[in-house]
């Protein structure tokens, strides 16, 4: 059985696309071959900056012959039916077979698809694959119409068996397949023939190309750590960078160089970021000083001066880069020390956050006010929290962050320290962006957590205020992430907060804020410049709001109501509370997703959401966790059954009788012992549950509730609700009602499934 070797040789493929492309090549070719009946034993894909390679072993030499039988009409069927059958089968009448069936003589068509040689199939599949390759971005070149990631130069495609190698003939827009390829661009120019995969790998290596990216990465890492170690240093690990660099070279040569003494005073993050982003250098740390003192660069070749020229060039470029960074750092420090962080915050008034939500500095004002308001709930000093919120985003105006946006926050911390601000404030500058992802650490320092929370809440209320909510897969402002951040901040810091009220206030003040800066009028499609003229009052749409409103009354209106668009395009005023409630529901949705990861079922969350105080996320989650735990016990599961039975009987009776049995049952009408026991149990449970709920000890409340399971079960076993004695019947229904009210104080078990 032959082996197949394919190599697509092109100009340099972006490093970030190579691995995926090699996998896509493997998948598309193997899928296509298998679909055509060509199975194989093994497949491996490889990539270098200039080539994608696929090696298949043990391919079938030809596809198997396929034989299909089709039963047709009876031999005496009308001519038309037989003609139709022939058309479908692609046969002529003399090719049909007559066979005896239960119903008599019937035509049978035997269709044979002969097998095809592998080369023919490979050529077709490869042609289709090349023409439809799923590059994230592709291009045309020259006069051709073919698309590839960069110009495609040659196609190597050979089938090898004991007899030797054979080129699979193929011509894709003028690029003819062959059995040749190239080695390293500079170290081994020129083409060479290939006759097998093993030979290909060996020949490539002889020509300064390591085919396997993992081997290149290993080589880089080994050599880098060895060189660093030999000098008493250690390489800062960076897997992403390693993979990228392995995609930039075919023949990696590791070179270690020094960072000029002038730059060693820069923050290590600045050194690292500048070296990594601009130069793809690894950082090398001196374990004695903890500082980054050297760098590792990976060249794509050997030279007779052992890389001295290359290293000197790289060192020079780095020095220029770091001079810039040092210039930024020193300038920024000077501003921070002499003018303070406020100078930068003021500059943010020229930076638009969102065209309907105003500038960054307007937003910072809102965050500061909100931080002050919520600080007590997080145990933070309101003055410090407000102060921190005011400077937390100041570094966005600094030169360093302009150059390296990924250093935002971190630079704020350095600069806040330099400005002599309290350490809590400096920490908040860095930490308030967190948590970003679902696994990111959540800030727990009170001031940091307060600013982080205020920042995210303002983002959400802002976008809700201007009606820009995430829809489907579209969430351009990462609002889902912000909501999850809020949830995680509240939970990690055990913050109890009436979120609905915070949201309402925040939305209202955002609207008011926007009103004052004229943004609200954009939202109303009103030209703010006309608000002072008579035209303004004649705006037709204001008539839909109310007759003639002054600017002040619009602002007042904005305080408790806002304009919303209905689905049909009409405009209506909605109370701010409704908008806040909508946002709260968004939080609840995110919470369900978050708790699901924790193993808490959505119906458990629903049972808790139905309870009062559901806008206190921390409380809600405590209740849900307790209920989820209780439902994992035998008592819990059975209690739900008992409760549902009680509830069903009661609901049916209430519907039938047209009465609500809420009068309370009287023990003196109790007949059976089990009935009396239930009375006692309910009476004992009620104060326990009430006390536990008061103390927000949901586990205790659940335990008290679950303790009702045995008496409820016993009661249903022993007692018929529908007694002939109407007084007894009504008393029992009232008793069921007590079960219901008692249980429903803990959680809405009607929502539990099963």
């Amino acid at each position: 059985m032959p082996d197949l070797l394919i190599e697509l040789f092109s100009e340099e493929i972006p490093a970030r696309m190579q691995a995926r492309a090699a996998e896509d090549l493997k998948k598309r070719i193997t899928d296509g071959l298998v679909e055509a009946g060509l199975t194989y034993a093994g497949a491996a894909a490889f990539h270098t900056p200039r080539r994608l390679t696929l090696a298949l072993s043990g391919l079938l030499a030809e596809s198997p012959t396929l034989r299909e039988e089709r039963k047709g009409p009876r031999t005496d069927a009308p001519e038309k039916a037989i003609e139709g059958f022939l058309r479908g089968a692609g046969l002529t009448r003399d090719q049909l077979q007559e066979r005896d069936d239960k119903k008599g003589a019937v035509f049978f068509a035997v269709i044979e698809k002969p097998g095809r040689p592998a080369a023919e199939i490979v050529a077709e599949v490869l042609d289709t694959t090349i023409r439809n390759f799923p590059w994230p971005k592709s291009m045309r070149w020259g006069e051709g119409a073919l698309r590839w990631v960069r110009p495609l130069h040659s196609i190597l495609c050979i089938l090898t068996d004991e007899a030797g190698a054979e080129v699979v003939p193929l011509d894709v827009d003028g690029i003819k397949s062959s059995n040749t390829t190239e080695g390293h661009r500079f170290l081994a120019p020129g083409r060479f023939p290939v006759s097998s995969f093993d030979g290909y790998v060996t020949e490539l290596k002889r020509r300064f190309v390591i085919l396997d990216a993992a081997e290149r990465a290993d080589h880089i890492w080994q050599d880098a750590t060895n060189q660093a170690f030999a000098n008493g240093f250690e390489v800062v690990e960076d897997r992403g960078l390693l993979a990228e660099v392995a995609g930039l070279v075919e023949w990696p040569v590791v070179l270690m160089g020094e960072i000029g003494a002038d730059f060693l005073g820069l923050p290590p993050e600045v050194l690292q970021t500048s070296m990594k982003e601009h130069q793809k250098f690894f950082s090398v740390r001196n374990p004695k000083t903890g500082r980054i003192e050297r760098f590792i660069t990976v060249a794509n070749r050997e030279t007779r001066d052992h890389g001295a020229t290359i290293l000197a060039g790289n060192q020079k470029v780095l020095a220029a880069r770091l001079s810039d960074a040092k210039f930024f750092w020193e300038n920024d420090l000077r501003v921070a020390k002499t003018e303070g962080m406020e100078a930068w915050t003021a500059a943010l008034s020229n930076v638009t956050f969102h065209n309907k939500l105003g500038s960054q500095s307007e937003r910072i004002e809102r965050i500061a006010a909100l931080a002050r308001e919520i600080a007590p709930a997080l145990g933070a000093d309101p003055d410090l929290a407000e102060k921190a919120a005011r400077v937390a985003k100041a570094d966005l105006s600094s030169e360093m962050v302009y150059e390296f946006p990924e250093l935002q926050g971190l630079m704020g911390r350095y600069y806040a320290e330099a400005a002599g601000l309290p350490v809590e404030v400096a920490a908040a500058c860095q930490e308030h962006y967190s948590p970003l992802g679902p696994t990111d650490d959540v800030p727990t320092a009170p001031v940091s957590a307060t600013v982080a929370l205020a920042d995210k809440l303002d983002t959400l209320t802002g976008f809700w205020a201007i009606d820009e909510k995430p829809t489907g897969s579209k969430d351009p402002f990462a609002l889902r992430r912000a909501a999850l951040g809020v949830i995680r901040l509240l939970l990690a810091n055990d913050v109890q907060m009436d979120l609905l009220e915070v949201l309402s206030t925040s939305i209202a003040s955002t609207l008011q804020d926007l009103g004052f800066s004229g943004k609200l009028f954009e939202k109303y499609d009103i030209d703010a410049s006309k608000t002072k003229s008579a035209d303004f009052y004649a705006q037709t749409e204001l008539e839909t709001v109310h007759e003639k409103l002054s600017k002040d009354s619009i602002l007042k209106l904005a305080h408790d109501q806002m304009l919303c668009w209905e689905a049909d395009g009409s405009k209506v005023l909605k109370p701010v509370e409704d908008v806040a409630a909508d946002l709260l529901a968004f939080f609840h949705d995110r919470l369900k997703v978050h708790l699901k990861d924790e193993g808490i079922r959505h119906d458990v969350i629903d049972a808790c959401l139905a309870m009062p105080g559901n806008d206190d996320i921390t409380l809600l989650v405590k209740r849900a966790r307790a209920l989820s735990d209780a439902l994992k016990t035998d008592d819990g599961v059975n209690l739900v059954q008992g409760f549902k039975r009680a509830n069903n009987i009661l609901s049916q009776a209430e519907e039938k009788d047209g009465v609500a049995y809420e009068f309370g049952a009287d023990i003196k009408f109790a007949e059976a012992e089990e009935e009396k026991t239930l009375f006692a149990a309910l009476e004992a449970a009620e104060p326990k549950i009430a006390a536990a709920l008061e103390a927000e000890d949901f586990a205790a409340a659940m335990a008290a509730m679950a303790a009702l399971r045995a008496p409820i079960d016993a009661f249903f076993m022993a007692v018929q609700i529908n007694s002939d004695n109407d007084v007894v019947r009504r008393n029992r229904l009232n008793l069921l009602s007590t079960i219901r009210t008692t249980v429903l104080k803990v959680a809405d078990l009607t929502r539990i499934e099963g």
Partner: protein
């Protein structure tokens, strides 16, 4: 007189900024490019030269190389920064259709200016090019020599909103930076402009330092923004007005589409926008709107150019 320093490949190292330019001119001339002169207008990059923007449109083959002075008012540093200038030179090569050996041709040009291919690490690092003002994009690389970006290499895919057929290959060399690297100079103003052995040796600073100071001051603090804004609007209006004329010239009776005169106005608007930007009078939100206005002009000019013979229009195609 000392012996000229020899590189290992036998190609002598150049001695001055101008020698590097002359060698590039000679190299690309030898490769068959029309050596053109700079466009006589203020532009932000060599790409704006009609020999690139307009000629990359349509199906006519084309090969040109030229130096283009480029102005980036916001990059002015009063001549103090070692490698930032508000006025600098780009070397631009445009070949349509892009030849299959364009990478090799390009590497040959590096060798021609004294970069020894055996001693340096040349790399093609992904860098997609997009010009929002020209409504243009392409794929390619920035070319690194020992970690230093020495050129941009782009296969044009779209210009002025038109798909490029055939595709042009574009090379852009930042001449000062490249020359500083080749000559081993740390501050641009110290770079020899002509041969340091000349009777009157001139440095880059001798030629340009004062200009950098004068323009930095004017760009940042003095330029009359009201006037610039007016000029921007005039250029915008004139561009549209030129293109609104019927293609038939009533005086000569000939078909004359005025694509390039209109494009001049587009270039003007673009540069005026850059000046306004440097003066700090354009807010972040307005920026996008201005860029959009220039793009509209660029697209209209591209639409017009493809209606000219140089842009591939033929009477037969209409008939």
């Amino acid at each position: 007189m000392s012996e000229p320093q020899k590189a290992d490949t036998g190609i002598a190292k150049p001695k001055s900024f101008q020698e590097i330019i002359l060698r590039l001119q000679a190299y690309w001339a030898a490769k068959g490019c029309a050596i053109m002169q700079p466009y006589d207008m203020e532009v932000g990059a060599g790409t704006f030269h009609p020999a690139t923007t307009l000629r990359s449109l349509g199906n006519r083959h084309w090969a040109a190389a030229y130096v283009q002075p480029s102005r980036r008012p916001t990059d002015g540093r009063y001549g103090e920064n070692p490698n930032r200038l508000q006025h600098y030179y780009q070397y631009q090569v445009l070949i349509k259709p892009s030849p299959p050996d364009l990478q090799a041709l390009y590497l040959g040009s590096l060798e021609a200016i004294g970069i020894d291919m055996d001693m340096h690490d040349i790399r093609f690092v992904e860098d997609d090019w997009e010009s929002p003002t020209l409504g243009a994009w392409g794929l390619g690389w920035e070319v690194w020599c020992d970690g230093m970006e020495v050129s941009q290499f782009t296969y044009f895919q779209q210009v002025g909103g038109h798909d490029c057929h055939p595709v042009s290959g574009e090379l852009t060399y930042g001449l000062e930076r490249l020359a500083m690297y080749v000559l081993g100079i740390d501050h641009v103003m110290d770079m020899p402009y002509n041969d340091p052995q000349s009777p009157i040796a001139l440095s880059y600073g001798d030629v340009f330092l004062q200009n950098e100071q004068e323009y930095s001051r004017w760009n940042f603090d003095i330029a009359n923004t009201e006037m610039l804004l007016k000029h921007f609007e005039d250029a915008e209006a004139e561009c549209a007005a030129i293109l609104a004329h019927p293609v038939e010239d009533p005086k000569t009776g000939k078909r004359i589409v005025m694509a390039q005169p209109a494009y001049d106005q587009c270039i003007k608007a673009s540069h005026l926008f850059n000046l306004l930007d440097a003066r700090g009078v354009i807010s972040v939100t307005e920026r996008q709107a201005y860029i959009g206005r220039v793009r509209t002009l660029a697209k209209a000019c591209a639409d017009a150019f493809v209606q000219t013979e140089a842009g591939g229009w033929t009477p037969e195609a209409v008939a």
